[in-house]
C-alpha cells in the first residue's frame, strides 16, 4: 500500500469500517511511514474532539407531548375515515346493483374470467419459477459486492469456527453449520448477518487465494428440491444446493470448478460433524 491509498482509506480505518485485509495493510503502512502515521494521528485527534464537541440538540419536552397527542388524534379519526370510505363505496356500488337485464354483461364477465385464467395459467408459472431465482440471484450478487466494498465483509472476523458459530447462533433463529476449510485452501475469514429473500440470513465468508466466497445460509422450506443449481451472472458464479435443513447459496468470482470443490469440501466436513 502506498501513501495515496492509505490516505484514501484513512477515514474508513479511523471508523473501524475496513475489511480485515485492508485494515491489516493500512496498519502495516502506518508502521512503515512516519509521515502518514503523523497525519493519521492528527486527523484522529481532531475528528474525535470535533465529534464530542458538536452540540447535540435534544428534543424539548413539548415536542414529545405534541407527538403523542397528534398520534392519538390520528387514532381517533380512523373509525370516522373508515365509515366515510364504506359510505363512499356503497354509493359508488349503488347503480351497479340495479338489475340491468342485459345478457352481454354476463358474457363479458365470463369472457373476462376465462381470459384471466388463460393469462394466469400460461404466464404466472413462467414468470415465477425462473423469475424468483433471477431475482434472488440479483440480491445475492448485490450482497456479495456490497460486502467487498471495503467496509462490511464480516461482523465477526475469525478463522475459528468455534467463534463464528456461537456468534451467529446468538443472532439468528437457526443454527447454521460452520466449518473451517483452511487445510483444503478455503480459509474461513468470518461471519456476517445479511438480509435476503425477506429474512435474516447467515453469511459465512471464505477466502480462495485472493478471492472471497460468500456462503449464504438459511433454513430450507420443507418441500425444497435437492438438485444443485449453477448460475453465472456479471462474471460471478452462484452455486445453490440444499440439505435436509438448509438452503445454501455460494457467491464468488472464483471459477466454477473451485466453487464446486468448495461445495463438496463443505458438505463432507459438515457431514462428519
Amino acid at each position: 500500500m502506498n501513501c495515496e491509498e492509505a490516505t484514501k482509506l484513512m477515514d474508513g480505518y479511523l471508523d473501524g469500517e475496513l475489511d480485515p485485509l485492508s485494515n491489516q495493510k493500512i496498519e502495516q503502512h502506518l508502521q512503515d511511514c512516519p509521515e502518514c502515521d503523523r497525519a493519521y494521528e492528527a486527523h484522529r485527534a481532531l475528528i474525535h474532539t470535533i465529534g464530542s464537541a458538536t452540540p447535540y440538540y435534544k428534543a424539548p419536552v413539548e415536542l414529545r407531548e405534541r407527538i403523542q397527542s397528534s398520534l392519538r388524534e390520528e387514532i381517533a379519526e380512523r373509525p370516522l375515515r373508515n365509515v366515510a370510505r364504506a359510505a363512499r363505496s356503497l354509493i359508488l356500488r349503488g347503480p351497479q346493483t340495479v338489475p340491468s337485464g342485459i345478457p352481454w354483461n354476463w358474457l363479458a364477465l365470463a369472457a373476462a374470467i376465462i381470459f384471466a385464467a388463460i393469462i394466469t395459467l400460461n404466464l404466472v408459472p413462467r414468470l415465477q419459477r425462473p423469475g424468483n431465482d433471477q431475482f434472488l440471484a440479483t440480491q445475492l450478487i448485490a450482497s456479495h459486492v456490497r460486502s467487498l466494498m471495503a467496509n462490511h465483509l464480516t461482523d465477526v472476523a475469525s478463522s475459528d469456527q468455534h467463534t463464528v458459530k456461537p456468534w451467529l447462533d446468538a443472532k439468528l433463529d437457526f443454527a447454521p453449520a460452520v466449518a473451517d476449510l483452511s487445510s483444503e485452501g478455503f480459509p474461513l475469514i468470518g461471519g456476517r448477518l445479511d438480509y435476503l429473500n425477506n429474512r435474516t440470513v447467515a453469511a459465512l465468508v471464505y477466502q480462495r487465494r485472493k478471492h472471497f466466497i460468500n456462503l449464504f445460509v438459511w433454513p430450507a422450506a420443507p418441500d425444497a428440491t435437492g438438485t444443485p443449481k449453477t448460475i453465472t451472472r456479471q462474471g460471478y458464479q452462484l452455486l445453490h444446493w440444499t440439505d435436509s435443513d438448509f438452503n445454501y447459496w455460494a457467491v464468488s468470482d472464483v471459477n466454477d470448478k473451485d466453487l464446486q470443490a468448495f461445495k463438496q469440501l463443505f458438505e463432507e466436513r459438515i457431514a462428519r460433524h
Partner: protein, 209 residues
C-alpha cells in the same frame, strides 16, 4: 370490576367515606380508558419514542431552525405510525431517521431550494486560513459555538453524514441506508465532509486572529 363499582355505589350512602371512594372511582375509570388505547399505538411508542432525541437532532442540523425541526419531527412520527405495520426490522432508529431525513429534504426543497446546492462562501476562501496549523485547529476544536457555525455552513449532505456518524455513531451500512447512497460512497463522502469542516474551522480561526 363489577364488584368494585357495586361497592362504590353502596358507599355513597355512607357519608363519612364517600369522598374517598369517589376519588378512587375516577382513578379506576381513567385507567380503563388508558387500557383502551390500541396495542398498535403502544408498541409504536415503545419502539419509536426512545429515538426522539436522535430524530430531533438530525432534523435540527438539517434544517438549522428549531421550529422547522419540530414540525418535521412531528410529521415524520405521524408518517412512521401510518406505515408502522410495514416495519418488521430490528433497527427502529435507522428506520425512523430515514423518514425524518426524507421529510426534512421535502421541506428543504420546498422552502429553500438554494440550501441544497453546495454553496461556497467567498469569505471562507479569503487568504489567511492556510497559515492555521492542525495544532491550532485542535486547540479551538472544543469550542462548541465555533463548530456549530462551521457545521451550519456545510451543505446539507455533509451536515447529515457528520451527524449520523459522529453523534449517532451509526455504521457505514446504516448511513448508506438512511442517506440512500451506495455503501461504497459513505467513506469518501465522510472524508470530504470532514476535510471541508476542518477547512471552515481553520477559516474561522484565521479570521478571529
Amino acid at each position: 370490576m363489577a364488584l368494585l363499582l357495586k361497592e362504590e355505589h353502596a358507599s355513597e350512602t355512607e357519608d363519612f367515606e364517600s369522598t374517598a371512594k369517589i376519588v378512587k372511582f375516577v382513578v379506576v375509570k381513567k385507567r380503563e380508558e388508558e387500557h383502551a388505547q390500541p396495542a398498535e399505538l403502544t408498541s409504536f411508542e415503545e419502539v419509536m419514542l426512545p429515538h426522539l432525541d436522535a430524530a430531533h437532532n438530525l432534523a435540527r442540523w438539517l434544517l438549522r431552525n428549531e421550529q422547522d425541526a419540530q414540525d418535521v419531527v412531528q410529521e415524520a412520527y405521524l408518517r412512521a405510525f401510518k406505515s408502522f405495520s410495514g416495519f418488521h426490522g430490528s433497527n427502529g432508529r435507522a428506520w425512523l431517521l430515514t423518514i425524518v431525513r426524507n421529510t426534512s429534504y421535502t421541506l428543504l426543497k420546498k422552502n429553500r431550494a438554494v440550501d441544497l446546492t453546495t454553496t461556497f462562501d467567498e469569505e471562507i476562501h479569503a487568504p489567511g486560513y492556510e497559515s492555521v496549523s492542525p495544532a491550532t485547529i485542535l486547540e479551538h476544536s472544543e469550542d462548541a459555538e465555533l463548530i456549530r457555525e462551521a457545521m451550519d455552513e456545510l451543505p446539507a449532505e455533509f451536515r447529515e453524514i457528520l451527524t449520523l456518524r459522529h453523534q449517532e455513531g451509526l455504521s457505514y451500512k446504516e448511513i448508506a441506508d438512511i442517506a440512500q447512497i451506495p455503501p461504497g460512497t459513505v467513506m469518501s463522502r465522510l472524508a470530504r465532509a470532514r476535510a471541508k469542516l476542518k477547512e471552515y474551522l481553520a477559516a474561522r480561526i484565521g479570521k478571529e486572529k
